[in-house]
Amino acid sequence: MSAAFTKALTCLSKYGDELSIYAISDSLSLSATNSSKSAYCRFKYERLFFSKYTVNALKPGEAWPNDLEQTMNVTGQLLTKSLLSILKHRTVERTVERCEMSIVEGHEAFEDETAQDNQDDLETRLIIRLHCKHGVVKTHRLILLNPTSLMAPGIPDALNESNLTIGPKALKDMIEHFPLARGAKSDPQLIWSFGESDVELRSLESSIDTKGKAQLATELTISAEEFDVYNIYAPPTTIAFHLREFNATIAYADSMSLAIDLRFTDPAAPLFIDVEGDNSETLFVISTSQVHGAINGAPSQNYIAPGVKKREREETPLEMKNKKPMKAVQKVEQQTPSVRHSVPRTTGFVPPPRHTSSAGNSQTEAFHDEMPPPSFIPTRVSPLQEPLFLPSSQLSEADEAVLLSTGLGIENMNADELADLLEGEGEEVAFDFASQDPKCQKFLERPRRDDETQGPDSFQLEDDGSEIPPTQNLGDSRMFQALFED
């Protein structure tokens, strides 16, 4: 029994780090979901699977609680590997004769044997007691967390469902042809096309992997007779899904010598896999990926980013990245960090009326483009910007530093001259810095009406776009813009 249970845990650990336990009076469910919630795995054991199975440990003859439905279940969540490392330890197989597991709710220890804990038991714990040879007893207590949410798979639409049954060995032989072991992070997809009489498997990967190497494309066609049950609702059906979790399923079914039932409806709906054993049933749900032009057999790679590890959730931002308009918007927001830093300094000051927004803004951008690390921008820009907002006749220390830093021998300049230099001839100042970068100069010279979202402008700076998160303080930038418009 312990071996089967350990195999199940091994499989669960491939699906997700967190193991959810759900115990009701006649069955125990263990489930795991992967981090992108695209694969789900649940093992359900009937009470007969265990030599002894009780929930709440009600003593015989004791009255059952009225609200039976509510009290008679126990849930918990823990790291799969901490449980697995206990049960899979090399000494366990050799010495353990009996394994007891119990869940003790905080502050209500029903069973006598669990009451020997000498700590204040506020946490719900999973207690694994291993009875070894020579009367050695090893007790492991793992703290159970309250499950954040109980994941439940959607129920497949039975009307247009296709189902297949195949032995794990045959499936393994099929999958083996597709090389996987290019590193732990690789997680290729397979496209399965279920035709009338044969099944076509094709590797679906972007043509270039993370290292820029072209990859091997493999295609395999096998007869439908390989399947014990082959029942396709609408024969040419094509689905695609990732292999990592699927392989864990196969490995489990193989180790238990259990047949695999596959159920799916249409390419967009998840794949359901059932593996049934004695007193246990296992459900796996794996999200499928859209395959464009499935019937033609020409997979579109729009949805598959190179080197993608996590699926569905990540796909959305990746998609967005490819769209130029999105990026344009990002660019405008992305400027704001440099501008934003000057905002605290400028609040309270009225900007000089003769200051034109285009000059100031292009100046900022000139700096921005010139200095690659965005974190540098505020410190270097601010001192130069300050005179713009300080209509004072005295040179501040920052101003003097600026003059010194120009290296033009104009240290003796007074405040007005400096102000003139910086403000009145905005383009000239910008030119000094932009001249080092022809690209900047080019768009500095472009006539500009407004500093708001300009298509060409954003396009110019696109290179930076990917480096900076797009969602920075839009509000601040608006505030700043309003200041200019006064």
């Binding site: 010495t95 000498n118 090893k138 492991h140 703290i143």
Partner: protein, 360 residues
């Protein structure tokens, strides 16, 4: 001055052995801190390391382990500058050596590690190829020893039909390097290693007073090894709980026993960490605890990280003696089986560890 003396007098230490594996295994047992103090006496060598001012590890290597062992007292003040710090030891010479370097030098031919018990182990060491040499050697980095049975430790000494590295070790006295002359056989190459020595720093003094002993257990090392290796690495605290044999329920805590258990567990090893806890109960069974003496119920905690330092020595030992005194000072002695059949006294490695203060 010392140069001339050195030429006239025999060296302070001169020891030779035809196979360094046992010697090397003993050194590896305490190789958790690089800087080790080697104390040379008439009866043998001790190698002492300490960590965190809490854990003291000492390997006792008796002179009859070596084929040849000669110690010349250096007790004339003109020669030795450090012979004055031996207070308790009647006559010794102490110096510090980098233990890692010493072990690496011993393994320069790749034949100082434990011999492999299975031929599947790939030859991880580049070693001198000799005619007719087809056996593989395990590397000494295999500290975990997982997946191998407990008999590995002993086998590694006995099935060594292959030729090991022979060693001649000399130490001329204070200020001189520890010189190792290593060879696999007479026809092969020889290596001379000179390892710089340092003046010894005073070590932690952890004296175990047998009259204050409250718990003494002798058990097979495999029991303790399995127990320690099963603990989750995230655990930080290890507690030894001993209950005195008479069933007078004097337990300091509210430990209740499952009624179906016939005897109360004599020894409980308990570890706790952020993610849970583990308890291991050992009954009063001769198969498990060979000797169990407990004057009163005891419960002392130690840092698991420090106790884990003993694992390497534990793995190659056969028997473990665990003693705790009333202050909580833990003494763990591991008997290291000697490969010599002629009844040479077995070396042992002892660890002493202070208890955590925040217990109870």
């Amino acid at each position: 001055m010392s140069q001339t003396l050195e030429e006239e007098l025999p060296p302070v230490l001169k020891a030779s052995v035809h196979d360094v594996r046992y010697f090397s295994a003993l050194l590896r047992g305490v190789n958790f801190v690089n800087r080790a103090t080697m104390t040379v006496t008439d009866r043998g060598l001790t190698i002492t390391v300490e960590e965190a001012r809490t854990l003291l590890g000492t390997a006792f290597i008796f002179s009859d382990i070596f084929d040849e062992y000669a110690y010349r007292s250096e007790n004339s003040p003109a020669v030795s500058s450090q012979s004055s710090d031996d207070v308790d030891m009647a006559d010794n010479v102490a110096f510090e050596v980098p233990l890692n370097t010493l072990i690496e030098c011993l393994n320069i031919f790749g034949t100082a590690g434990p011999a492999s018990t299975n031929g599947s182990n790939a030859n991880k060491f580049k070693k001198w190829k000799k005619p007719g040499d087809d056996s593989d050697n395990d590397d000494d980095g295999d500290r975990g020893g997982r997946g191998k049975s407990g008999s590995r430790a002993i086998d590694s000494y006995f099935n060594g039909s292959e030729k090991g590295t022979g060693m001649r070790m000399t130490y001329a006295g204070a200020g001189n390097p520890l010189t190792l002359l290593l060879a696999e056989d007479a026809t092969g190459p020889t290596t001379t290693c000179e390892i710089a020595t340092f003046d010894p720093e005073p070590h932690l003094e952890l004296d175990f007073d047998n009259s204050k002993m409250v718990l003494k257990i002798i058990l097979k090392s495999s029991w303790l090894r399995d127990a320690l290796s099963e603990l989750d690495p995230s655990f930080d605290k290890l507690t030894f709980i001993g209950n005195s044999p008479p069933k007078e329920s004097v337990s300091t805590t509210n430990q209740k026993q499952p009624s179906r258990e016939v005897s109360k567990p004599m020894l409980r090893i308990q570890a706790a960490g952020t993610f849970g806890s583990t308890e291991m109960d050992y009954p009063n069974d001769r198969d498990v605890l060979e000797t169990f003496e407990c004057t009163r119920s005891v419960r002392f905690s130690y840092r698991l990280q420090l106790i884990s330092r003993t694992l390497r020595a534990l793995q190659s030992s056969t028997k473990t003696s665990l003693r705790i005194d009333e202050e909580g000072l833990l003494s763990l002695q591991f008997l290291m089986p000697s490969p010599k059949p002629r009844g040479a006294s077995d070396a042992f490695i002892e660890f002493r560890c202070l208890a955590l203060d925040d217990d109870f």
